[in-house]
């Protein structure tokens, strides 16, 4: 294990050097949290399909339990049970529009991970940085449990547990646990835990910061200890069920699925679950007594339990929906935690938007009206009133809106339109509108993936490291 231990020390050093202005040591947040034998125990997987470029390169890395799809490269890195999903990367010849310019790609875009340590992290989407169109790079970066790096090239940064950086180029930043950042480009900033920040310069700016004492019940991170709290307990509760599906060579789906839907063979399905047409259920998603209407999706690390989603519902990466009923076209953002109870179900009206990193946790029935935006921590009716607004009212805002711990400045109309366009794009990319001929997406393209396994050196000084591997057509 010596080589693996040296590799981890080197990665931590590199990140700490980048974060020296904050005197931030990422070591205690990630070292010794994953037993070394686990790193040598799990296989890695790469998928082959006719729809995604086959181009993998793994050098001097540990890839325990990680999953790769599309063009990916890792070098001097440790990826523990992470998902590197390159099914939305740009392709050679694509044109990327930036301001008034269209830039043509000269080659397929690839995900490049160097000198980084990602724990149970999702890497998805494509680089939105016009300066690095062919490279979605993650360098000198450490991310803790259940972080999301979504369309965000990063360098010299740390993402706390359950943090998300979305469509943002990030250099030398510390993103607190359960923070969500979508701000185009950020440099040299450190955010508190539970910061939800969405900014489009010149158009709008949204900021919500969780009350830290209340957030701690759901997630708290202390140096030298694994993340604690309800979010972590929930995410880890079904580890055994996942290990079981990962250990099976040929797993038969436990539920019938329409021909136009896709159920990843590394998802777990339990109880009376129904999957409708054009539905996508991604790897490491968990469905228990879930009813997924036509065009809905459950992304990586989603958990949908005793819940009904009427149709065209986006359940973004890491979101949890329990004891709830969602109308059509409801969007639930990254890592949101929506929990009703058997006697107090949560109901969300059609076309509502649940902001990324929202926690709704209620024991009494709670109803979010149709066409509303909800954010932050909501545990009862009063909390809902303080942390929500109708999309109609928000669209009228020109200037500022302050409600509870939420600050908004700019054009409400542009904010709502930007969200609605993005939701539409997600549904399109997932194949929600497939009619048998047109509008194919992940639901149709990700059906036939053959998974191959790769394994590390079992013992000796190189134990845990994978030999250098190049996989091409």
């Amino acid at each position: 294990m010596k080589a693996l231990k040296d590799l981890l020390d080197r990665i931590v050093q590199r990140v700490n050097i980048n974060l020296r202005e904050f005197e931030y040591d990422v070591g205690p947040f990630v070292k010794n949290l994953i037993p070394w034998n686990q790193m040598a125990k799990f296989h890695a997987f790469y998928g082959i399909t006719q729809n995604h470029p086959l181009n993998f390169e793994f050098r001097h890395s540990n890839l325990a339990g990680s999953y790769f799809l599309g063009k990916c490269r890792t070098n001097n890195s440790i990826l523990y049970k992470s998902n590197v999903r390159g099914d939305e990367l740009k392709k050679k010849g694509d044109r990327f529009k930036f301001q008034d310019v269209e830039i043509r790609l000269l080659e397929d875009e690839g995900i490049e991970i160097e000198d980084s340590y990602l724990i149970k992290t999702l890497v998805h989407n494509f680089s939105h940085d016009p300066e690095t169109l062919e490279r979605f790079s993650i360098m000198n970066t450490v991310s803790a449990h259940y972080a999301n790096i979504h369309g965000s090239p990063t360098d010299g940064s740390f993402l706390g547990a359950f943090a998300t950086v979305d469509l943002t180029t990030m250099n030398d930043c510390v993103i607190g646990e359960y923070s969500y950042i979508q701000a185009g480009e950020i440099n040299h900033i450190k955010t508190d835990p539970g910061t939800v920040w969405i900014r489009s310069p010149g158009a709008f700016n949204f900021l919500y910061r969780y009350p830290l004492k209340k957030l701690a019940r759901y997630l708290s991170c202390v140096r030298g200890r694994r993340p604690q709290g309800i979010l972590m307990d929930f995410a880890e509760a079904r580890n055994e069920a996942f290990e079981k599906v990962f250990n099976l060579v040929d797993a038969e789906p436990r539920v019938g699925i329409p021909k136009t839907a896709s159920l990843d063979r590394f998802a777990v399905v339990d109880g009376k679950t129904r999957i409708g047409q054009n539905v996508v259920v991604a790897e490491r998603a968990l469905l228990e007594n879930a009813w997924l209407g036509k065009g809905s999706n459950a992304q990586e690390h989603c958990h949908i339990k005793n819940a009904r989603l009427k149709g065209n519902n986006v359940t973004a990466h890491g979101a949890k929906i329990i004891e709830s009923d969602l109308g059509k076209d409801v969007f639930v953002g990254f890592n949101s935690f929506l929990r009703g109870s058997p006697k107090g179900r949560l109901s969300i009206g059609k076309e509502s938007i649940i902001m990324p990193h929202t926690i709704i946790d209620t024991k009494k029935p709670l109803k979010i009206p149709a066409g509303h935006l909800a954010w932050g921590l909501i545990t009862d009716q009063a909390g809902l009133e303080a942390n929500s607004v109708s999309l109609k009212e928000l669209s009228k805002v020109k200037g500022k809106l302050v409600r509870g711990d939420m600050y908004f400045e700019g054009s409400g109309s542009e904010f709502v339109t930007a969200f609605q366009k993005r939701i539409q794009h997600i549904l399109e990319a997932n194949g929600a509108f497939y009619d048998g001929k047109r509008h194919e997406g992940h639901a149709q393209k990700n059906q036939n993936i053959s998974f191959n396994t790769i394994q590390p050196y079992p013992d000796g000084a190189l134990a845990g490291l994978y030999p250098s591997i190049l996989i091409q057509p």
């Binding site: 900033i189 900014r199 700016n205 900021l207 500022k400 302050v402 600050y407 400045e409």
Partner: protein, 191 residues
């Protein structure tokens, strides 16, 4: 042209406004008022109070701005407003929120009463490195230190003991006198 030393320009500490450690903000303000009345000077007033420990050593300084700062409302929300600019919110929004909170907050009269009873140690500034100058140092050294540290005054020492205050206004006065003298000399030379 006269070559000034710091000692010639400073205000001796015995003539400066001082209060002992543990005094209230109101006691400090009264001490400043008294010193301004008693100090024999023509143009400038005292603008700060020195805080002394039980051995009469200077442990801090409270400026007029420090007194005003003490009157600023202190609550987490207002500190949170200041952080909003880091996230790209406009000054207009931040100032608007501060104003709203001020209107909703404690009336100024009550704020005066509440703040007047607070201890000076909570608001004083401890002398920083670069804020000391030897009494025998020349004017140019003092000017350099004032400019470099953006200070309004320097603490003057004699064998590590603080013996006086060198104020920006006194230094500026000396520089002005020197400058006028130099220009006068140049005029004579050119004739």
């Amino acid at each position: 042209m006269k070559t000034y030393t710091v000692k010639e320009l400073m205000v001796p500490i015995s003539e400066y406004a001082t209060v002992p450690e543990g005094s209230t903000l109101f006691e400090a303000v009264l001490a400043l008022e008294k010193a301004q009345e008693e100090f024999d000077q023509k143009q400038y007033h005292h603008r700060a109070i020195l805080i002394l420990d039980k051995n009469r050593r200077v442990i801090g300084k409270l400026s007029q701005l420090g007194v005003l700062r003490a009157l600023e409302p202190k609550d987490e929300d207002i500190e949170g407003f200041d952080e909003l600019s880091q996230f790209g919110f406009s000054q207009e929004l931040v100032q608007g929120l501060r104003k709203e909170r001020r209107v909703q907050g404690v009336p100024l009269k009550d704020l005066y009463v509440r703040t007047a009873g607070l201890k000076v140690e909570d608001f004083m500034q401890a002398p920083a490195e670069g804020e000391y100058v030897e009494q025998d140092a020349s004017l140019d050294i003092a000017v350099h230190q004032l400019v470099l540290g953006n200070h309004l005054a320097l603490l003057v020492t004699k064998a590590r003991e603080i013996v006086g205050i060198l104020r920006l206004t006194d230094v500026f006065g000396a520089v002005l006198r020197d400058m006028k003298e130099c220009m006068g000399t140049r005029g004579e030379d050119s004739e």
